[in-house]
Symmetry: C2
Subunit: 357 residues, 2 copies
Amino acid sequence: MTIILSNDDVARLLTVPECMAALEEAYAELAAGRGVNRQRSDTLAGIESRPDALYSLKSMDGIAPKFGVGAVRINSDVVTWPKRGNNQRREKVPAAGGRWVGLVLLFSAETGEPLAIFPDGVLQRMRVASANGIAAKYMAREDATRVGLLGCGWQAGTQLMAICAARRIERIRCYSPTAENRIAFAAEMTPQLRVEVEPVASAEDAIAGADVVMCATNSIDPVYFESWIVPGVHISSIKRPEIEQRALKRADRLAIHTNETKPLHFTTRDLEVPETAAGKGWQLVDDVDFTKLPTLPDLVAGRYRGRTKPEEVTAFINNIGMGYQFAAAGAVIYRKAREQGVGHELPTEWFTEDVHP
Amino acid sequence: MTIILSNDDVARLLTVPECMAALEEAYAELAAGRGVNRQRSDTLAGIESRPDALYSLKSMDGIAPKFGVGAVRINSDVVTWPKRGNNQRREKVPAAGGRWVGLVLLFSAETGEPLAIFPDGVLQRMRVASANGIAAKYMAREDATRVGLLGCGWQAGTQLMAICAARRIERIRCYSPTAENRIAFAAEMTPQLRVEVEPVASAEDAIAGADVVMCATNSIDPVYFESWIVPGVHISSIKRPEIEQRALKRADRLAIHTNETKPLHFTTRDLEVPETAAGKGWQLVDDVDFTKLPTLPDLVAGRYRGRTKPEEVTAFINNIGMGYQFAAAGAVIYRKAREQGVGHELPTEWFTEDVHP
């Protein structure tokens, strides 16, 4: 049978610590050259009926032989770039009947068989957090107990779960510009983490005294600045622009998720994609060849030491995702789904064939 | 609803002439820069339990805005390279319970919604034939009536349907080394085409007097040779090596399917993929920069004339496929499936989500 899982199924089946354990093993495999990732591709075209939007078809593949699986992750999105005040944001429109479209297809890497299909949303959030959590395990001070969180949205909750799995966290302060968001977030997360999450009124308050600063925003401008650096801090980011360039240059130890620094890009002729056109692209640090920066697999494999002294400033940027993560974590989800009998079962014959090209 | 179609459904829903019509329009869109194709990627890894095989995960994407769709085509294969006598062949193993795994996912390029999922086998065969048929429409002599077919396997039947849609064909001779294969093939195709298909005992007999020679084999060595060339002939091939290099050099007019000359290639470390390692790769014509050769979209758009005189020798090589073809033809399949109520309907909510990464 091929099983169809929902986001709720995925959320019930996989915890952040389990996802971290699977990915840590998967990064070691990748560093050893026994796993393989196919660089993400973004394919874009205009939409005749909606001149304000583009259609974006993204895909990324990976094979994790140790986990016995391959995965393809697909995003099929209607994207707009609305202006809010002086800022231009990238927004995905829920044009599919009020919903979004992201799918993971999981295949057996031993028989080719399609094992499972499930939406990407919940796992996306977990695999992002897991990468930051694993990085913190290798880069934050061993005795780190205090976390400052910038951002209280979709990604922020799993980031806290991940850092709590990596270190014995005792104090968390969170900041988001909208008071009611940060208050609701803190109220929701405190019982889940069994660590007090305190909403505070400024970013400076959130990071004051923190051993680990976690940026988990959707900002395309910096939210953490050089002037805030204190000795021994670990700064963690889920995307390129969150940490100010000058702050990154001050870091004694700097690692990124992967050297695959940007996606392959395919468009119809003369199509302007705002973030590409604006050159807000993929530059990570001026004058640094980030295709050569140490990566998370390097950290896990012991090829790069994330921290050599307690007073060092360390930084990790989760610069771009990998289809490979969906393979490794997907294998765990699939195993548990089968054990627990979760998901809609469909005949595998619907997704296989008796001819081959 | 998202519909799941079978290969039988696809075969019933789409004819080769319909597929040709859709693709011809799609190539014009591509030439005009209004369609977009994402280059195929091949991702490969070893299989611990089967040292003789590799696991291959291929994907290709495309968006056809005029047809309102995007598509991702995925192949999840166990591949071996057995030696038969002196020849090494590439063989896909039906390891998924005796079956193979190739899937097309079709999405709305207006809402992102997943429209359909179906196996790729039947459409694969039609889109290959359609490209060769469209090329023949632009390159073969207007008065071509006689076809010589080399190969009587899976791809050969649709090749004949395509040439019969492109020209008023009156005589077909087919050759395959195994007598019983060519006899069965001719018996099967004659009533379907309403043109006599005559099985013959040698390639030379098949091509003698032919206005159009169609190569439709799975050979990785040449099957059509320079010495066989006669004035006015159109030579058609479904893969790179079928036409001898020297024959290609003799062609007055030469076009290929696409300038995307080879797939992106990702493997685990030190993995040897036989056809890549052997350098039997993607070289089409010595000393010819085939990234600059005229393409099928160039022919359709009138940028390159496929034939200027009756006595010219013309050749077309269907060098590599495009995910874009699956989008355009998939749109026709989907429309007809909905009109005719064909396929298993599944809730679109299974393949969409209320969160977005």
